[in-house]
Symmetry: none
Subunit: 198 residues, 4 copies
DNA sequence: GATGAATGAGCGTTCATTCAT
DNA sequence: AATGAATGAACGCTCATTCAT
């Protein structure tokens, strides 16, 4: 009774922005374009977000939270270290490839924009690296990985995965390359690169 | 003979743009700023470049040529396959880290921009991958690398290196990570990832 | 009886606006800011005032009434003509300097704004001049003032006082000038200017 | 031969702005409105003025220079002190009444805008007061004026004249008052107010 | 070969105001 | 009596680009 059938405009704006991001890129995305795409006036956006930064930061946070949740779930669910490591890597790739819009603002936005991202929220973004680092540490103890400084290696792993995702969502890959094969190869390369010789 | 000693304004514009790119970033670069920095009028740029795209495409091409030259030099100079592979990887990292302005427009520009990049020039960009692929192939024949499809693996290697470069020039790396150690680790990871178990 | 104890929102809005006026100035005052400061919604203002003009006109009227009351009180309380004249002048200066927010909207708003001010309310504004004019007339009869057309001279007195107030509340006075001395001098100048030579 | 028949747009913008100022007031004057009134695009204004401030400051400076020139001319041309004083006062009134647009930005603009007016140019604005003060000083020495602190009295005179001008150009004067008579009366009042009793 | 003059489109943002509830 | 949702118009300003010379 008395259902509020009205749309949640805040949600609509976030989703619209997300979709436009992947089509147009942050640099070409304006408040007006977003408004036009939602069907609402530009002014309305400001009812839900203080300014452009606020809107994008909200989106970034959503992205971090989603990736974080996935990582944490894997961390708790998978005891086998090598398996867990592989799953984390695959989850990162999947997240990026399935949510290119989130990926774009989370990891491809220009540093100057990130500079305005609240510092405390940034910490959340780093937690993903911590999960990777811990898994590496466990792997070293189990004699599976040959890794000297897990913290640095976690960043290296991240860099490698990031390269794979970003080339793909930027359509930089030669069209003659099979995408699935590329992803699988990259995953294998990442894992092989940390493993201790048998 | 008979040529005037006047400056090559086209050259001046390209160099100025390159310098501004590294100082201000692509997003903050306007034709007017470039003009002001050259000391010539904004209109003059249009004598040498059809539009902004044309100017940047010329710069991108220069970048591809520079990287290409480096790769070819290494290819011809280094007979040892493993050494050559390592040198190619390091050269890629060095190129990106020492020429962030070129790297930005070559590999980090939004696809929407690259869509307008002349298809025939794109071939040059791919030659670098060919050099990598051939080295991988030779390495497989020499029993050094465990790689099934060299063409795909070349892209994977590229992706990994690209991730390393782009995280660094976007200042995404945790400040507590030593930069040199990170680069060395990434290089080791890339090489280890293709090597056959001893 | 039967009236609720609820606040008189109209009153609250008027007072809030007055306070904001002195803090932020007319130019920086928006309906939204007023609403926020009252704690009520912006829409609520429109329950009590037709529009922004209406709100400010109400405030202007209050100002005129306050000044009027002061003038009338002096008029009835002070029999000595010269003393009364001096008191009226001082009261005008005091009113302006102590209520710069009222003064601004009463006497400094651009004519374009005042054009929309209801003509009938303007009459109240003129009563102050009548008090001045009558005092001048009495002064002439008593041989104290040398003034031909009291109505015109009343306006002249007003102009002089207005200049003093408006320069001060607009902070136009050279900072090296002592403010109290300036006000006293202006008052003396105004009075001296109407007096008949001894 | 080769006459440049083209308009001086900078001049056109300044004049248009001047005229609009008196019609609409500073608060309601936008770059767009100015542009529309000139018949040129809004962008064109920025070819001649860095920003809105720059445009208005240029206008303010013109005003100060004009008033200054008039004052200096009178100062040098008129030996008789009382006559000179009267001429200065009348010149101020005339300037304001004949150039209400200049007067508006010079003396009626809100202090916050003036705060951005270059300090060194502000000095020029004060020279007018110096001329007044010196004339007062000379008058005191000649036994004509009864004035203790000429610097303060100069400001007082200015305030009085300013009140007269600003009430008139703001159309605050009762329409039943004859304007010429009002101006003459104000002038007489100002002069009488400084004179020593005969 | 090079320029000065000019512009339309667009930017992020704020405003007073309306309307349905 | 009071509100939340929404908007059209306007703001100052920057941009890539054109055109006549």
């Amino acid at each position: 009774m008395g259902t509020t059938a009205s749309v949640d405009l805040r949600r609509v704006i976030l989703d619209t922005t997300r979709h436009l991001l992947v089509k147009e890129g942050y640099a070409n995305l304006s408040m007006r374009k977003i408004a036009r795409a939602t069907g609402y006036s530009a002014t309305s956006i400001y009812l839900y977000f203080r300014d452009k930064d606020d809107l994008f930061h909200a989106l970034i946070e959503e992205g971090y939270e989603a990736l974080n949740a996935t990582f944490k779930a894997i961390h708790h669910a998978t005891a086998d270290v090598l398996d867990r490591f592989r799953q984390l890597c695959r989850a990162y790739l999947d997240f990026g490839l399935q949510n290119p819009e989130y990926y774009e603002i989370m990891f491809l936005l220009h540093p100057e924009h990130m500079a305005r991202y609240p510092a405390d929220k940034f910490r959340k973004a780093r937690q993903n690296l911590d999960v990777l680092a811990q898994t590496l540490t466990e792997g070293v103890q189990a004699g599976l990985f040959k890794v000297d400084n897990p913290r640095v290696w976690a960043s290296t792993i991240w860099a490698s995965l990031h390269g794979t995702v970003s080339l793909m969502i930027a359509h930089r890959l030669d069209i003659r390359i099979d995408k699935d094969e590329f992803v699988e190869t990259s995953l294998r390369h990442v894992v092989q690169g940390v493993q201790a010789p048998a």
